[in-house]
């Protein structure tokens, strides 16, 4: 078993007082993917909180603040344990059986949410690249490994080159991006090839030399018949293992934003985030 300590911190400062605010935080490690042993969180407003489930069943922390404030911070710490994973998968199915299965109507209907295009995973009509195509000649897992390294080579990791609303079209134009761009592109290509894929947000162990650990990380999961959902991280050209501490999944980034707020205020805001993940 591996043990990880996680600290998540966010601080928002507002130019003008905020009269009222609703915040939803999606930062609690998912207890299906690992064991969450010590979980603590606080916020600046000393609010009572409610943990509710989002539409995919992940826990969100809700704050409703009705007293004026100019600063909001939130802090979470957790200890989690996870068995070591050797991410080497072999499907018992033949490539042609896999191909047939994912093209069956029932399979597509049952996984429709992760096959539908979204704003952030929409592939532009004209693309200058030929992406690897899934044709049923090799196993899906193998295809996805190939796709992962293809994207790893296609894009240059470049912090702050994009933001959370950057469409794929722009990412392909500048050939730069951060983890969510790799994930969106991966998902988009999977869906085009009728492989259900979803966006995953989480923490990544900082001690192991990965890219994208200073903030929350993002990767993708694809559904492989008879294997289930398997995580692929094109940013690091890896299949996700026990170093990947999942928070939530969804159809794209917007289902997994760590913090969403609706505020009544007039001015701008400044945010600081920090993530610390240590491995004992």
């Amino acid at each position: 078993m591996e043990e990880f300590y996680i600290e998540y911190f966010i601080e928002n400062k507002y130019e003008a007082p905020v009269r009222k605010a609703n915040f939803q935080l999606l930062v609690i490690p998912d207890s299906n993917s690992q064991q969450v042993q010590e979980l603590k969180f606080y916020c600046s407003e000393n609010q009572e909180t409610l943990i509710s489930k989002n539409i995919f069943g992940f826990e969100i922390i809700n704050y409703y603040i009705s007293n004026p404030f100019t600063e909001f911070w939130f802090k979470l710490s957790a200890k989690i344990t996870k068995p070591e994973i050797n991410p080497f998968y072999i499907s018992p199915l033949l490539p042609s059986d896999e191909y047939e299965l994912i093209h069956s109507l029932d399979f597509q209907i049952d996984n429709s949410l992760f096959l539908r295009s979204t704003d952030l995973t929409k592939m532009p009509a004209l693309v200058n690249y030929t992406f690897p195509e899934y044709n049923g000649e090799i196993q899906i897992f193998e295809y996805l490994l190939h796709l992962t390294s293809f994207l790893y080579q296609l894009l240059e990791y470049s912090p702050e080159s994009t933001d959370v609303n950057t469409p794929i079209e722009e990412v392909l134009r500048i050939r730069k991006g951060v983890c969510q761009d790799y994930a969106h592109l991966f998902i988009s290509i999977c869906r085009q090839n009728k492989i259900p894929a979803r966006y995953v947000s989480g923490y990544l162990n900082q001690g192991a030399g990965f890219t994208g650990t200073s903030q929350l990380h993002a990767w993708a999961e694809a559904l492989i018949p008879d294997l289930g959902w398997v995580g692929f991280d094109a940013t690091n050209n890896l299949v996700s293992d026990h170093h990947y501490i999942k928070i939530a999944h969804g159809t794209d980034y917007r289902d997994c934003s760590p913090i969403i707020g609706v505020l009544e205020t007039t001015g701008a805001q400044k945010s600081i985030h920090s993530v610390i993940v240590t491995n004992q």
């Binding site: 409610l50 539409i55 969100i60 409703y64 209907i109 429709s112 609706v262």
Partner: protein, 487 residues
């Protein structure tokens, strides 16, 4: 009142090409219109104009108006044109229509429950799965969530027309926030005041139970563990074109009319801000569109919504009527499948006719559409209020080419139908001071609650006031008539 020498309906001239609701081909009134025509013919033109003006003034003073904004001037307030000559539907004809509308809405409600849960109708290939999943109105927030009482479409406004063959056809299903019922009640009141003796001649079904029925229906879908629910109507605010209706319904139901800013969500419960503190809200009849109801989930820039509302809804702490995501079923591309949907869930033959519909996304049909645009009505699948509709016979060559380009660039967005010949009804035209035939349709109002249904006996007869115009929507310059279902 003195007998007019010449009846005001005498100068009415028939059109040959359309079904006339009032007159036979011999220009004699149909049986159910006889006494009304007699009564109207007793009025002199000046009597009629006087009554007409009184009604207009009354509507104006009641604030049954919409505002037309222009630069730097004060908004110009106008009433929705109302025609005093009522549309009459004989009882047997209505009973058939009522059964058909209820059948249709029952099936649609089952359809919504299915496509948000087991999706059997898609797996059985009765409705193409792609059609549903490619619709932006199919909301992931509703997948596997069951609204109280399994009711999605608490309020629906089915639009019908009568074709040249004398048959009713469904024009569209309005399953989001159908409006117009306040005009039905206001029109009736106006007619009762101005032509009270008409009501002695024909017995008509009352329309006044609608608000109480609506309240009862809303109470049947209250959240669990609530004895007496607090019901509210949510409006986008008084600058919304249907604000009159929102305040009218709230007032007649005796419930608060609230705006998004009056509500807040704390720990998954919804409260309204009152002068003596927060009061919990249990059932919301919302007249705000899906994408605006919760800025945490849908449009972030929405000022009309309530942050956290969807969470409270999904936790079962508040009921929304209609349920979010019903728009996927009144998509004009789904319309075509409703007869199959009725057969699939109810194992019944559809009572009401559908208009033949061509899907531009189907290769087998799009070619027919592109070659016959001049004979078809082309509609975008996801617009309401008559926007974006083109009618083939009215288009120039250039316009036809433009429509072709639009269809080719996004075939999923368009359907086409043969130009249906809406029936005509004698309508007073102010410019000519004469009754002339004008096209009409009928919006019905159907309510569905837990184990209960109600349909308003009557509806809103909308009339296209411009000669030859086929679009009756108020946003396109249409008026309305009182609609009588005979008892």
């Amino acid at each position: 009142m003195k007998q007019a020498e010449k009846g005001i309906l005498d100068s009415y001239s028939l059109t040959n090409s359309h079904y006339d609701e009032v007159f036979k081909e011999t220009k004699e009134p149909k049986e159910h219109y006889q006494s009304i025509v007699e009564r109207f013919n007793q009025l002199s033109l000046s009597d009629y104009e006087r009554i007409n003006n009184e009604v207009k003034t009354a509507f104006f003073n009641q604030g049954i108006t919409f505002a037309v904004y222009s630069d730097d001037k004060k908004p110009d307030e106008r009433i929705f044109p109302f025609d005093l000559f009522p549309r009459i539907i004989p009882n047997d004809e209505w009973m058939q229509l009522e059964k058909g509308v209820i059948q249709r809405n029952r099936a649609i409600n089952l359809f919504l429950d299915d496509i948000y849960h087991r999706k059997l109708i898609l797996k059985d290939k009765v409705v193409p799965a792609d059609l549903i999943f490619s619709s932006k109105n199919y909301l992931k927030e509703m997948v596997d969530f069951t609204p109280e009482g399994k009711i999605y479409t608490h309020i629906s406004g089915t639009d019908l027309i009568k074709h040249t063959d004398g048959q009713y056809y469904i024009l569209e299903d309005n399953l989001r926030c159908p409006s117009g019922v306040s005009y039905v009640l206001s029109n009736r009141l106006a007619l009762k005041k101005s032509l009270f003796d008409l009501f002695d001649k024909l017995k008509t079904k009352t329309v006044y139970q609608y608000p109480e029925q609506l309240l009862e229906i809303l109470k049947t879908v209250k959240p669990k563990n609530i004895d007496v629910p607090t019901v509210v109507v949510v409006t986008p605010g008084m600058y919304n074109s249907a604000y009159f209706e929102h305040s009218f319904l709230a007032q007649k139901m005796g419930v608060p009319l609230v705006e998004g800013r009056d509500l807040f969500v704390d720990k998954n419960f919804v409260y309204m801000k009152t002068i003596h503190g927060p009061i919990r809200v249990d059932v919301i009849y919302r007249r705000v569109d899906d994408e605006f109801i919760d800025p945490l989930v849908f449009r972030k820039d929405s000022m009309l919504g309530v942050p956290g509302l969807m969470n409270a809804y999904r936790a079962g702490n508040v009921t929304l009527a209609n349920a979010p995501g019903t728009g996927v079923a009144d998509d004009k591309a789904v319309y075509h499948y409703v007869p199959d949907i009725i057969k699939y869930y109810l194992n019944e033959e559809p009572i009401l006719n559908n208009v033949k519909t061509y899907h531009c996304e189907k290769e087998s049909e799009v070619n027919y559409v592109l070659e016959n645009i001049d004979k078809l009505v082309v509609k975008p699948v996801d617009e309401s209020g008559g926007y974006g509709i083109t009618i083939g016979t009215t288009l120039t060559k250039e316009q036809i080419e433009e429509v072709k380009v639009r269809i080719k660039s996004n075939p999923r967005k368009y359907i086409a139908q043969p130009i249906m010949s809406l029936s005509v009804h004698a309508t007073f035209i102010e410019e000519t001071k004469e009754f002339e035939p004008r096209h009409i349709d009928l919006r019905t109002f159907c309510l569905m609650g837990k184990d209960t249904e109600y349909i308003l006996k009557g509806g809103l007869t909308r009339v296209a006031l411009k000669r030859g115009n086929l679009i009756v929507n108020s946003s396109q310059g249409g008026g309305s008539k009182d609609t009588w279902v005979l008892g």
